[in-house]
Symmetry: C2
Subunit: 301 residues, 2 copies
């Protein structure tokens, strides 16, 4: 079995209080793959330019990520340049976004990939996400992520997708933006009424709140005293959660809770280093060690 | 056994998106008593003016609160007037603070009260908190709360008290203000180094983070879709936590976790109504019903 993830593969320039890094491997699909790979095979669907370093491609392959649906197009790889200030390490300040080859990207899949059951639509334009979904034969589980840009500029497309998603993942700011409701409990309920089976609200350092028609729960974040670079934390979370669900092939409440915990634990590694510095070398054994600590940390009974 | 709580007994004028209420019974000691009374006898140490309504006094007595250390002084009862806006129900905007009889207040205790073991110094000027502490013979457990005003204007006095406190309770904003550190994990560690045995960081809708030299944990808040009035939520939390600790007479990690959960659960009732509308009629049976729900909600394993 395997997970198909559509999203960006990017070159990131990031500045945080801990330092500056240029042209790091980043993007929603790449970060997603770094945690999902711990549970299942991962196929990235996306596009890069001819400038995309061979070293990055080799790195992803070494990590077991299937790149047969990663298109190489004429032009430049998507590039994001951003900064996090000491006062609010939760919020990125975008300095520059160069779409490059992403501007004209149309996803393409092999026939085998079209038959895959677990597909995650990581942050990308809703029309591209929808296109990918239309290629899938009969997906059993569809995950969806988005960002404020699409809520502001492509709401109609996004709402069609939300209706079709099994699991809709978004952060607290996006939850409020999408609903105009400040109370997250009420906002998440409003989003649930838009059609997905489960709404997962990521709250960064404050943890995660999850609601479906059958259950709701909230977990704290694993405590991190030094956040180096939060870029990709949300994608790492989604990859851990979705990868686990793909592995166990269940969607009951207990499995879902464990999936969300894996997502949280893996995201906590992500923020401890620049880019994928901490998630790339990670083994499931190390993840399980922190998971055990986390269960102790968060135990209410 | 019993809990002694020093704090304000106030008349509150509150405006929230749900409405406007005038001259409600409020204050840190009063809100604290409403949850602590569910576990143990509560003695309020504080002051009111001659204008303090007999109905409020009778109400507290009916709830089993001992008022023998509630001084009645010439002058007006402490009055707080504030507002919460829809955009941020977590933060009060203070319109007016009239100290009245609080300005010249010196706490006094009966000899029996001086021998009590569990004393909580709810939000009040640090010099008054210190005075009360100096009256106690040999308290076994000292709790401390404060506010941004005292961090800004009486830091030296406050730091002496922090050193003597067993449990120091403060909110996320105060945690950052006191340490100048944005990361709550790091900030709480810095406060722990100031001397208390346990630091309890209240994060409102995001729950609570607790750290000591021996353990650390974090819990989410019970989900509340409609916050009517958050005034006194922190005091209700502290009263539930401290009242439970007084009842069980233990300070091991397991008891402390349960104490914090009771605090969280009781605070969730507080915000659902104006003033003490929801905490005043509460029985331990109803509290336990929500606690059971909460344990289900927050279970990570």
């Amino acid at each position: 079995m395997a997970v198909l993830v559509l999203g960006t593969v990017a070159l990131d320039d990031v500045k945080t209080p801990s330092g500056v890094k240029k042209a790091m491997l980043g993007g929603s699909a790449a970060h997603f793959s770094m945690s999902a790979r711990l549970f299942d095979d991962v196929h990235i669907v996306g596009v890069v330019g001819k400038d995309f370093p061979k070293a990055h491609r080799d790195f992803l392959r070494r990590k077991g990520v299937d790149l047969s649906a990663l298109t190489v197009a004429d032009g430049k790889t998507f590039r994001w340049s951003g900064e996090y200030k000491k006062e609010d390490l939760n919020s990125a300040i975008t300095h520059d976004t160069r779409l490059g080859v992403l501007a004209d990207y149309v996803p393409a899949l092999t026939d085998r990939q079209r038959g895959m059951s677990h597909v995650f639509l990581a942050n990308l334009a809703p029309v591209v996400q929808e296109r990918l979904l239309s290629l899938m034969k009969a997906p059993a589980l569809v995950g969806l992520d988005t960002m404020n840009l699409w809520i502001n500029t492509a709401l109609k497309d996004l709402r069609r997708l939300i209706k079709r998603a099994d699991i809709f993942v978004l952060n607290d700011g996006e939850t409020r933006l999408l609903t105009g409701e400040r109370n997250l409990v009420k906002a998440a309920a409003a989003i649930l009424a838009m059609g997905p089976r489960v709404v997962v609200v990521k709250k960064g350092e404050h943890g995660v709140y999850v609601v479906s028609r059958k259950f709701q729960f909230a977990f704290p974040a694993y405590p991190i005293g030094r956040v180096v670079d939060p870029t990709g934390a949300g994608d790492t979370f989604a990859g851990g959660m979705f990868g686990y669900l793909s592995k166990v092939r269940r969607m009951d409440e207990k499995s879902f809770r464990r999936a969300v915990i894996y997502g949280s634990v893996l995201a906590s590694f992500n923020v401890e280093g620049f880019g994928m510095a901490k998630t790339a070398p990670l083994t499931i054994r190390e993840a399980d060690r922190r998971l055990k600590e986390y269960l102790q940390f968060s135990a209410t009974a």
